[in-house]
Subunit: 117 residues, 2 copies
């Protein structure tokens, strides 16, 4: 998965990650929770969004994702299809093109980007 | 928080993190979900355990924790007391002595160790 967030760290302030705020139900939300050299912890809120089939995500670093609420399905090139429900996690290895083929509305992801430049 | 786990990575296999397995309700459980240079993702299951007041945790790296189930209270030296319920997260900065003063039974933590040697 990619990211469209340039927000800074606000990890010193606890917030409830699985809670969805009202009023932004249409667009996918990307929020950085913590940034350190070589690691970024991101919260993503999806509302049914999927990846266009002709525009798979691919990145040069490992990404570990955990579903905090909702459910999702991904297709990883060469690794097959993966369904994830709340509480399940998956490593998306660096260099593996992948598509999010389904997200429940809402789905809340925790994404750990490891070794991102 | 410290760790007493030497288990390897098993992140390629999804598992449901908030689920508690029966039969191990007494001892605190530490399980590595992913290890990479400079980062370790750990799942911890507490059953009411707390830190002895005279033996605070202190470590040379940042630790970010998220409560996946249950609730906990921590005291961080110089930063005060923090209560965390399911879905809340906290950065424990490197070098800050801290105590876990309460955990519900069960409490499931996700702990991200950043820059651990």
């Amino acid at each position: 998965m990619g990211s469209h967030s340039d927000q800074g760290s606000s990890a010193a302030t606890p917030g409830n990650l699985p809670e969805v705020q009202c009023g932004r139900e249409e667009q996918e939300l990307f929020e950085d929770l913590l940034r350190r050299p070589g690691i970024r912890i991101e919260r993503i809120v999806s509302h049914g969004q999927t990846t266009p089939v002709d525009q798979p995500y691919v990145q040069d670093w490992d990404e570990w994702v955990l579903i905090l609420a909702g459910s999702a399905e991904l297709t990883l090139e060469g690794l097959g299809q993966k369904g994830l429900v709340t509480g399940e996690h998956l490593l998306i290895p660096a260099g593996v093109p992948h598509l999010v083929t389904y997200t429940a509305d809402p789905t809340i992801w925790l994404a750990i980007h490891i070794g991102e430049p």
